[in-house]
Amino acid sequence: MAAVTAGSGAGSGVGDSPEATGGSTGGGGWRRPHGPLQRYYGPSTAEAAEAAPDPTDINGPHFDPEVFMTKVRSECPLGQLLAREAALGREIRALDSDMQTLLYENYNKFISATDTIRKMKVDFRHMEAEMDDLAANMAAISASSARVSAALQDRHRRGAQLAGVQALLRKLQALVEVPGRLRRWAGTDPARALRCHARARAVLRHYRHLPSFRAIEDESHAIMADLAQRLRTRLREETLDPKELTECVEMLLQLEEPQEELSEEFLSQAGARLEAELVTLEAELPAPDPSGTATTPPPPASDILDFVDRGSSAFVGTLCQLAGSYRALFGGDTGRLEPFAAALATRYFSLLERRQTFFLGCLGDVRQALAAPRPPGKEGPGLPDLLATLAASVLGQLKAVLAYVQLFTARDVAFASLPYFKGEFCVTAVREGLVVAFVRWLCRTARGFADGPAERGAPAAPPALLLLLARLCLDYENSTISYILTLTDEQFPPQDSGPAVTPGPALCAEARAAAQRLLDHYVQVQGAAVAQMLRKSVETRDWLGTVEPRNVRAVMKRVVEDITAIDVQVGQLFEEGVRRAQSSDSSRRAFSVYSSSRAPGRYAPSYTPSAPMDTHLLSNIQKLFSERIDIFSPVEFNKVSVLTGIIKISLKTLLECVRLRTLGRFGLQQVQVDGHYLQLYLWRFASDERVVQGLLDEVAASAAHRCLDPVPMEHSVVELICERG
């Protein structure tokens, strides 16, 4: 704006002709003092000017009237030029009047400033005289003050001396009183006595060359020795709570007793105390059950949770406290603490592990639930529910234990930072000792159910329990183990350099083996039950003198019923499994047609007396083409496989039993009817109906061999009887 004002001011001086010379000289005089200011305040304008020097911008710093004029004259029409001229004239007038106003104002301010300066000059002259006065007065004051202090100095020194003497006397008095005080407090308040002695000790030691002080020192020493002795006996004899113990040891430390010895004593004392606690805990545990089975009623779950709660709060708390105070007392010397804590923690774990009895408790519950007579009409808890309950409670239990154990590694616990607790503890104690051992133990117990009862005498586990455990183990193999291990590793991160850990897959394999064993055993038990029924029925019947069959024998119906029940039972816990699709969509009707078309062909050669060799040949040839059937073979984890196993065992038994008997004509026919009936109802349970078919064919063939008068029943009659039955 200043530049513009200047420029236009110059312009107005030469009238309406905008001459460059006048503008530039007048503008230069005005512009000069503003240069630095503008440079200071307006870097932006400067920049803008540098950036785009526009000589036609009338307000710009690079305005070139010549160029402007040329431009305007060449570009604008006449009318616009006139208008522009008028506008410029107006602007110039306005700027003129502005400048006059500014000039006037500046002048006024200059006048007032001159006045002020003149007034100040007069005032200063007056002040100078007063300042001189003040300086003189101050000198006088300091002189008199020096005098006063000189006068008082001697007295002050004497006073200070007296005060010093008095303090010394008081101290001496205290020293003299020390033995008395010590004696007084030693009995009642050893801490105070200690504090007192600690204060006096340095002085006494310093002045021991003076006989009177030495007497005092000796006396107090004797007292303190006595006190130390007493503390030691206390430390040794009494069962102190950890806080007292800590205090006691702290005091002894202050008495400059040997550290080594003290730490040892401290640990032994603490050990005894923790031991006592462990023993208390142990006493609360039920006596370990030697038979391993639920012969004694296992403690209810709540008790056990309670137990862990108490164990953790009491034992772990004490241990933490002790370890903390140990560190506080004996500084960095943790070499001895480590094994100590480790040993105790290990013992504690062994206790925790004994709580695995909990699992037995669960099993006992399940067993009871299974054995409990179900109220008629009302279905008891289903197997899946039981399984879920069992699995959940066991898992919950394990988690609880882990949570409690985690107390050991909690951040605020003093020794959590010890290397032992970081590495070895996590891996050895928790992961291996607790989790892995638990899973192993679980598998072992489960296996025990399969192996144990097979031996003589021991009460057999109910089959449903076997099935349940098999499923549980399988679940462990599939998911739970990895879950538990992940959980453990999360909570107790293992050290890289730590001892080798049992890998999850190994545990899984163990669980799987256990599951397999259990399931096999289940099949054997159930198969044996059905087989026993069949064997007894074949052995006790008079096959020679029997009458013409009118019905399927009741035992066969029973067999089918039992197998159906087993099917339901297994179906609750295991998947269906794959059935070899031979005639999967064959209805009962279709199947019976299939067998009826085949059966006569099978029987025919057996009854042709002319060729005894043919029978052989035929059955041998047939055997060549059929696969060898392993009767008691491992089963897969699905319903069909389990059922097939049971059916194979049952039918093979039937075969062997029939071979041991001699049948009459009607005996043969009865076997025929029974066989057909079994075929009708059993094929759908088996994975491969040819297995059922094959075994039943062998039964029929054997029966025909063992028959004195082999006249088979008309097949339609057989069918009819079976339909009716």
Partner: protein, 387 residues
């Protein structure tokens, strides 16, 4: 190893009964009794020529009925006993009799196999063991070391001790014992112990194994629930007097010390169905033979409970070089209890297995379809045991 291949012989009829000719110690000879309800039953005398690997057979007719059990006299090669079914229209009775075979067959006349079928000969009946008062005969046992004068038969729940008099033409019941109690008390099988001066026998009924003293006819021990299910067979260790093997429907073979009957010494679980037969080798009692209705015969080596000094043997694979064997003997590991071989030549249930009385390395097994298989102990193992 070519001559280690099994030799198979087929009978026309189904068969369950097999025995070695106990009194014969030179020739390998087995007797097989057939089971047929509609034809005359036979006893096949199987001679095995070890040198040439050839089987010679002689057939004797046994017309009284199908044979369930057969045993031979330990003293007289020509004397044997059978348990057979006598069937009438409404009743089946199992009887037992002592027979004599024709003289020329006693030590095996080596006739050619092709004309054997034409000249079947008949057994000469020596005496019946009268069981009208006692029930069905399960088996007949000869006194193992005796002169062929004493036999014991098991009939339902009775143990009957017979004296054969007047050159076996008369059987006199000298003493008997009956098993009393509730439930089904039927003996399934029994063995006469060769120890204790032949005064002990063991019997099996249901799941129980019992020991008896033949002098007082009293029970001396009882293994309750020896097996989970029916006990099928027993055998005594020929070299260790208190050791007994049993097998049964729970697919297991168990070894017992009769002085402590609460727990088996050892249990084998190799079969996948009922084990019908268990036999100790007569001279090397670590060799155990079992036959099962899973159609398999299994030869096991139970070193740890045998009379053989444990740790004496060497590993199989190092047998080839016998020169080195003696030097290395001391450092070698003892052989573990193991299954030596599983024989799968049978296609039907195997109801009988027997060691040869002449050759301790040879045994026969018989399946229901009439197939008799003669096998040998693997040569490597044989040298192992011998050297």
């Amino acid at each position: 190893m070519e001559d280690d291949a099994p030799v198979i012989y087929g009978l026309e009829f189904q068969a369950r009964a097999l025995t070695p000719q106990t009194a014969e110690t030179d020739a390998i000879r087995f007797l097989v009794g057939t089971q047929s309800l509609r034809y005359d039953n036979q006893i096949h005398i199987i001679d095995f020529d070890d040198e040439n690997n050839i089987i010679n057979k002689n057939v004797l007719l046994h017309q009284v009925g199908e044979i369930w059990h057969i045993s031979t006299s330990p003293a007289d090669k020509g004397v044997l006993s059978t348990c057979y079914n006598k069937t009438s229209d409404t009743k089946v009775m199992t009887c037992a009799a002592v027979w004599r075979m024709p003289k020329e067959l006693e030590s095996g006349s080596h006739e050619s196999p092709d004309d054997s079928s034409s000249n079947t000969q008949t057994l000469e009946l020596l005496c019946h063991l009268d069981n009208t008062a006692h029930g069905n005969m399960a088996c007949v046992m000869w006194e193992p070391m005796g002169d062929g004068k004493k036999i014991i038969s098991l009939a339902d729940n009775n143990i009957l001790l017979w004296d054969l008099q007047e050159s076996s033409s008369q059987a006199v019941l000298s003493s008997s014992a009956a098993l009393e109690g509730k439930g089904q008390l039927k003996f399934t099988s029994g063995r006469w112990s060769p120890h204790h001066n032949c005064t002990q026998i063991a019997t099996a009924n249901d799941t129980t194994v019992r020991g008896w003293d033949t002098r007082s006819m009293r029970q001396i021990y009882c293994i309750e629930n020896a097996h989970g299910q029916l006990v099928r067979d027993l055998d005594f260790n020929p070299n260790k007097q208190y050791y007994l093997a049993s097998c049964g429907d729970d697919c297991k073979v168990k070894f017992w010390d009769t002085r402590n009957v609460t727990e088996p010494v050892k249990t084998l679980e190799e079969h996948s169905h009922w084990v019908w037969n268990v036999r100790y080798n007569h001279s090397h009692d670590q060799l155990i033979l079992t036959g099962s209705s899973d159609s398999r015969v299994i030869l096991s080596n139970m070193v740890s409970i045998s009379s053989e000094p444990f740790g004496h043997m060497v590993d199989d694979d190092e047998l080839s070089d016998q020169e080195d064997q003696h030097q290395e003997e001391k450092i070698k590991e003892p052989l573990q209890d193991s299954v030596i071989a599983t024989y799968e030549e049978h296609e039907d249930s195997v109801y009988a297995v027997e060691w040869s009385s002449a050759d301790p390395w040879l045994f026969a097994s018989l399946s229901y379809d009439g197939r008799l298989v003669i096998n040998r102990v693997p040569r490597a193992l044989k040298y192992h045991i011998l050297l």
